[in-house]
Symmetry: C2
Subunit: 145 residues, 2 copies
Amino acid sequence: MRVITVTGGATVTATMKLRATVQRQTILEAVRESCDHPTAEEVHRRVRLRLSNVSLGTVYRNLALLDRAGEIRELHLSGEPARFDGEMAPHDHVRCTRCGRIADVALGSVAELQAQAAERTGFRVDERRIEFIGRCPDCRRQAGN
Amino acid sequence: MRVITVTGGATVTATMKLRATVQRQTILEAVRESCDHPTAEEVHRRVRLRLSNVSLGTVYRNLALLDRAGEIRELHLSGEPARFDGEMAPHDHVRCTRCGRIADVALGSVAELQAQAAERTGFRVDERRIEFIGRCPDCRRQAGN
DNA sequence: GTACATGCAAAAAGTTTGCCGACTC
DNA sequence: GAGTCGGCAAACTTTTTGCATGTAC
């Protein structure tokens, strides 16, 4: 569903001045390869399957760095711990209130809303964060809508 | 700017089966009267101006209850602690990256986006959470855009 | 060789919870 | 009077940080 190109190491260093350590690369790849918006703890668990002895602190440090470098995106949803998304094309999220699953959606004409927001508040709008909350198809089936 | 009607006590109990304690009322009023989306800690501080000896635990407990009761709304923005909003009419937010200020915006035609999201993912969409991030007028002036 | 990274563990920040006496209905 | 609520402090979860050692460039 999601197309990922990880060119071992080159990707990490090419676009930023961060050192290409094994840990950093593995963390980046773990986030890029996952389509389920993992939390830091989940990333940690996955990274350790390939590289035992990576500390949770390192995972947090690198997730923050990679986010600042624009390689991944940190998502903050209500009440839950932060989640991370390797898909950098602008898109939004739909979250299920029952199972917590988060699906991606691309929405048309959000640019208009952004312009509206800027106009009505005088803010310079740099970023948007749109989240819909409801119930996913699987849960609707299981719980009867 | 925001019109609030607090009819001492009646408001709290009328719509929910929560007891009308002084603490609870004061907390609700504090959130309703504030237009700046305070954090729990800020609510605590304000409540204590009127009622010393209210504990932070009580503030958290009541903010959660009032949120579940639909009297106030809990906002979760990136990285920051939760904030609370007494304005229940559907609206969205614009947050300044420099000073942290949060302004309200009402956006037209979000319903369309919501329909789009539902259609494309199969989710039943119950709620939306839209946040724009940028720079507020004051900060633009001070920092030169 | 120098700066930046890591592991580890401790600490911070934010929030929740258990207990018991107090208050609302 | 019964059941809910509040104060307090301890616990918990998530995230950050200090320090000594290790590694990339």
